[in-house]
């Protein structure tokens, strides 16, 4: 897909020199990735609100709030990381540099796993007491 360097009439030149306007497909793909990160953050925020507001107050009200805080912090980090990565990728494609490799999705996965473990523990704890 990215190897298609033929320049048709009416299409912007892919630009071979450094610091040039990059191929529009890279720019748009980067933009969509940014938006996907923001939507992920929104999903986490929705989960945080739901866990605090909609879940019945359990025997461990504090744990509910801990879970909410963890989710909100995760949402914040995800959103900030989306912005940061957009900036880094934009700079890289403008200079023709290789894209920075980030372990960010792995961090997110670890965070989500942590949330899952917390939720599971909450369920088991409230079931065994209530």
């Amino acid at each position: 897909m990215a190897d298609d360097t033929t320049t048709r009439a009416g299409e912007p030149d892919a630009g071979t020199a450094a610091q040039h306007e990059p191929d529009y497909r890279f720019t748009l793909a980067n933009e969509r990735t940014f938006l996907a990160w923001q939507r992920t953050a929104l999903g986490l925020l929705a989960a945080a609100v739901a866990v605090v507001q909609l879940v019945q107050p359990m025997t461990f009200p504090d744990m509910r709030h801990v879970l909410g805080v963890v989710l909100a912090v995760l949402a914040m980090l995800t959103s900030a990381m989306g912005l940061l990565r957009w900036e880094q990728t934009d700079r890289a494609i403008r200079h023709g540099n290789p894209l920075a490799r980030h372990p960010t999705p792995a961090y997110l996965a670890v965070g989500l796993a942590l949330v899952g473990v917390l939720a599971l523990w909450l369920i088991i704890a409230s079931a065994s007491i209530g």
Partner: protein, 114 residues
């Protein structure tokens, strides 16, 4: 990859997918605002309690306006040379961070009113 030999405008879907992505994001913000409104139906209708939902509505509207702008820009043929939406990305990125922060603070303050 599969439709590489489409004769006309082979990358048209790129522009389409990008503006759809903006629209989808605006709906995601709106859904969050709706979720924040649910709690207001339960109990207190304090004006302060409406701040996060109101902020979400404003951010959703901004995102939708940007989606419309992007759609108009990306539909142009030939595509404009400078196509990066730097200002929009920074605006929405910052707005999202503020929205998350405000929501988190609002959730933790009047937790016992609802």
């Amino acid at each position: 990859m599969t439709g590489a030999r489409t004769p006309r405008d082979p990358d048209g879907s790129q522009a389409e997918r990008t503006s759809l992505s903006w629209t989808r994001t605006s709906f995601a913000v709106l859904a969050n605002g709706a979720l924040l409104m649910i709690r207001n139906l339960h109990g207190s209708t304090h004006l302060v309690g409406l701040i996060p939902a109101g902020l979400a509505a404003v951010v959703a509207l901004c995102t939708y306006v940007i989606a419309m702008q992007r759609q108009r820009t990306l539909r142009r043929r030939p595509l404009p040379n400078r196509i990066a939406a730097r200002r929009q990305v920074y605006l929405i990125g910052t707005a999202m961070l503020v929205l998350i922060a405000v929501t988190a603070v609002a959730q933790s303050i009047p937790g016992h009113s609802g």
